[in-house]
Structure formats: C-alpha cells, structure tokens
C-alpha cells in the first residue's frame, strides 16, 4: 500500500489519522499508569497521615498508660514523630523507596519482615477463592440466562434468584463459622483451623467464594440477558448461526467484559474479606496481623499492612483494566 492511498484512506477514519493503533494503546498505557501513580500517591499519603490523624499521643496509646514517660519519649523519637511533618513525610517516602516500612512498636521486628512472612498465605487464599467463584459463576450465570430468558421457566428463575440473594446476603465469616461447625466440628472432614496441607484450604476458600460466586452468577445472568437483547445478537441470528454459537461467540464475550469489571471489584474485596475469614480459621495471614495490630495500636504495623492491601487492590484494578482493554478495545479509548 502506497503512502498516498493510506493518507487518503485515513481521512475516512474517525479522529486522528495515521498510527492510530499504536497511538490508542500508547495513550491507554499512559493514562492508566498515570492513574495508578496518583492512586499510589494518595494511598501512601493516607497511610502516612493515619498515625497523625489518631487523636492524642499514638505512642502513649500504644504502650499503655502505665508505660514510663521516658520510654514513650524514646519510642516517639525513634518513630521520628518529633520532626516537623514535612520532614517525616520525606523520610517516610525515602524509607518506602528502600522497602523499609518501619519497626513494630510491640514486637520490635521490622514490619516488612512480618508482612513478607504473612502475605503469601493471604494471597493464596484470595486468588484461590477468586478462581473458584469465577469458575462457578460464569457457567451458572450463562446457563441460567439461556434457560430463563424472555420469561421462560419462571420457577427456575425464582429459585436461582432466591438462592443467590440468600447466599449473597450471608457474610463470608458466617459461612466460615457455619462450615467449621458442619464440616469440621460435626463430621471432621476438614481441619477446624490453621494452614496445614491442602485440606486446610478447602473451608476458608469455600467460605470466601460462596457469597461472591452467588452474586457474580446473578450479574453474569443479568449481563447475558441484556446482551442477548442487543442488536448485534439479532444480526447474528440473521446470519442463521446455531444458538450455541450465538451464545458462546457473540453474547458471552460481551457479557464477560461487563462481568470482569465487577469481577475486579470482587477480587479486591476478596483481599479484604480474607481479614475476617482468616480470623475464623486462625489463618496465619495478613488479616490476623492487621486486626491484632489495630487492637494493640501498633501503628507502624497497621500502616504497613494497609499499604500492602492497598497496593494489592490497585494492582488488581490495573490488571482488570488491561484485560478489559484487550477483550473490548473500545474501553481503551474511553476516558476510563
């Protein structure tokens, strides 16, 4: 193709001529990275400010009213809390840059060490639960949509909706309690608590996955139903394709893009949901760390864990956006 024809052709294009393809992805990458950086900055600043927003003297609160005054002063100096605020902020950023998250007030261990030790257990739980809920939700949702579309099989629909509403309303830690009671205390099929072997994963993962799977399968169904009423599905039918092909190649990808947006939110809420479930199952993850550090007012540890959770969530969101852009190129040009 010669230069002239391509220039002539590009006149018919919507918007910018030339190099459109590369341009679009470049712009997307730029915009998305920018947003990630801004979000990271807000997160870091928020976690820095947390200790300053606590009313009263945080160190005194952490060490308790009986702690000697010079110990409190020593720890306060150690934490750098006597410096001017901008100085503290700069130090905080510099330390972060070197991967240092400070030292725990109570255990005197580096926060990064504690987190490195406990993060994998939490991440495994969250990822496994996400995979399970997606594997359940998408086929169930699609199947239900096809079975119950346009007012067919009202009873099936009612049963499905009812079940998913009820399951979705039960919080994960309650599932945990219920599962422990049924499958561990009563029948001894799985261990009650702890992280020891594959069997110990079953209950926590189930507890985390059931609710999201129920909610997500409803969303998949609704999205699928909406997609199946779209004009391009009518076009596909006008091509006289088989129903299976229409559902799988024309409807499903569109339904999945919408589901994925919510799936991302779901995954990030799973990360947080592990906090509760870990407590039920005495799971040696970050969840139990953050709770105990909040109750013991171990602020450096709280800061570190909140930061790690936050970064995890931001990375997930970014991944989801990239996946969406690959699946549905339109989302890369929007101002999302």
């Amino acid at each position: 193709m010669s230069e002239t024809t391509s220039a002539a052709v590009s006149r018919g294009l919507p918007g910018r001529p030339g190099g459109l393809w590369a341009n679009r992805w470049f712009r997307f990458a730029l915009r998305r990275t920018g947003r990630l950086l801004i979000s990271l900055w807000i997160l870091v600043t928020a976690s820095f400010l947390m200790i300053h927003l606590v009313p009263g003297d945080p160190v005194r609160a952490a060490l308790g009213p009986t702690a000697p005054a010079d110990l409190v002063l020593a720890r306060t100096r150690e934490l750098g809390l006597l410096d001017p605020l901008w100085r503290q902020y700069a130090d905080y950023l510099v330390h972060l840059f070197h991967g240092e998250l400070g030292t725990s007030i109570t255990s005197r261990l580096p926060v990064s060490e504690t987190i490195a030790q406990r993060l994998p257990a939490s991440a495994q739980l969250a990822v496994a639960a996400f995979v399970v809920s997606m594997l359940v939700a998408v086929p169930v949702g699609v199947g239900m949509a096809v079975l119950t579309r346009r007012g067919r099989r009202r009873r099936t629909e009612l049963a499905f909706t009812g079940t998913s509403v009820v399951l979705g309303a039960i919080p994960d830690f309650l599932f945990g309690v219920g599962l422990v009671y049924l499958l561990a205390v009563q029948t001894h099929v799985f261990p009650v608590a702890g992280r020891d072997g594959l069997g110990s994963y079953v209950l926590p993962v189930l507890a985390l996955a059931i609710g999201p799977a129920a909610v997500l399968s409803r969303i998949v169904r609704v999205e699928m139903l909406a997609v199946m009423e779209a004009d391009y599905i009518r076009t596909a039918r006008a091509k006289r394709l088989t129903p299976v092909r229409i559902h799988l190649t024309h409807a499903l990808p569109n339904a999945v893009t919408a589901t994925l947006t919510l799936g991302g939110l779901l995954l990030s809420s799973l990360v947080a949901g592990t906090v509760l479930v870990e407590n039920v199952f005495a799971w040696p993850g970050l969840g139990s760390t953050i709770v105990s550090s909040i109750t013991s007012k171990d602020y450096p540890l709280v800061q570190g864990t909140v930061l790690v959770y936050g970064v995890g969530v931001l990375l997930i969101n970014t991944l989801v956006d990239v996946a969406l852009a690959l699946l549905d190129p339109r989302s890369a040009i929007g101002d999302g």
């Binding site: 006149r11 018919g12 919507p14 918007g15």
Partner: protein, 280 residues
Amino acid sequence: MTVLSFRDVSVRYGSHTVLKGVSLDIAHGEIVGLVGESGSGKSTLARAAVGLAPLAGGRILLDDRPVPTRGRARPVQMVFQDPYSSLDPRMTVGESIAEAMRERLGKQARRAEITRLLALVHLDAARAGDRPGRLSGGQRQRVALARALAARPEVILADEITSALDVSVQGAVLNLVREMRRELDLSMLFISHNLAVVRYVADRVAVMYDGEIVEHGPTTQVLGSPQHEYTRHLLAAVPGAAHRASAGDRASAGNQASVGNQASAENRNGILSPTPKEHT
C-alpha cells in the same frame, strides 16, 4: 435591526475544534435556517448562544451587548430535539412552563399566563395539570415551545425540533413555527438537517460544514442556485432529487446522481471528497 449576532465564534472540545470562527446574524422577526450534517457544529452554535458550550473565541451579541448567560432573565431561549428528554417527567406541564417565567407571579396570574401560553401553541389549558408521560411527542414539543415563550425571549433557538417527530405530527409543528413568527414577530434560529423543512420555514439559510459556514443568503437563492460545492452536494442528496431530475424538473446539471449507471459511480467518488469526516 440585528437581534442576535455571532461574531467569529469558536468552540473547542479538548483538541477538537467544533466551530471555527463562525459569524452569523439573525435580524428581528426573521427565521434563519441552519443546515448541515451531524457533527458539523450546528447544535454547538446554538448551545454556545445560551451558555451551554464554552466559547474559545469570538463574541455572541444581543442588540450589541453580550448575551446574558447568568441570572434570571434570559432573552435567548432554546427548544431541543428530543421531546422525550426535554421535559422533566416529574413536573406537570404547568410547572415546567412556570419555571421558565421571568418574574414570580401570583397564583392567579401564573395560571392565566400558563393558559395564554398553552393557547399560543394550540394546547388546551387543562393540559397544564398533566405530566409529560401523558402527552404525545408533538404535544411535548408544543409544551417545550410554550416554555421557551414563557421567558419572553427575543430569540428562540430551535434545534432539530421536528426530527424526532412522526411525519404526520411534524407538519403541525412547522405550521406552528410559521404562525408564531407571523403573529408574535419572533426571531428564530431554526436548525435542521432536512433541507425541505428549512426551505419551508426559513427566510434565510446558512449552510454549515465542518465547523464553518460555507454559504448563506436568502433561502430561495441558496437552495435555488447554490454557489458552494458542498451545498450542491447536499441538495443532490435530498431524497426525491433523482425523481425530480428524471421528471425534467430544474436541477443543477452534472450534480444529479442518476441512479444506477457507471458514470454516476465515478461521479459519486468525486462527490465523496467534500463530505465531512463522519464521526462515530
């Protein structure tokens, strides 16, 4: 003499320039038609005049003073294309009209004014208590006109006010526009993509293409003997044009694409060049 005057008006959205130095005058008691394709900037011009689109350059004057776009008294009013979106579904027809009135009136006076305005657009006073949901598209568009009139405007901007209506209703609204001009001495900018409709109501026509006015003048002159290539192209595309050409009617020679022969295919490719970029 000139009521509303656009002087070198530019509007930019981001890096995209929608209007490129447009100048246009609307005289007292005159209907100026504005034609062009979607994306040519017709609506943006009207929206700029009422402060809904930010000016990047130029001025919009009303009687040689900048058009007020703040405060209660707005002498330039607009009627929109979609009658299903231009009335608040939660408000009665009367409330919608009353909201646009310049001054707070007493209950009695307000009711009388609503009745007067509804009568102007040939609607029964009993309609004042109805919500838009009970009205047809044509009736809603009349209410929208009545609301515009409630502000006692000097100029009304009508943005594609008949294009969402059914053909049997469109005629009635066009008759109403002509009647209002005749009886109320209204000045109006009448925006439409439909040349036949503009021909029917407008005294003068301006043709817009890619953010610029490429031709303007008296309606009969612009539509009868178009000077700019784009205007001719637009006229040739009007449905029924081929029919007229074959009937031996007046038609600017050479530009009529008689359907189906090879020559016309060549010709079409020639015509394609001045078409604006279609925006998705």
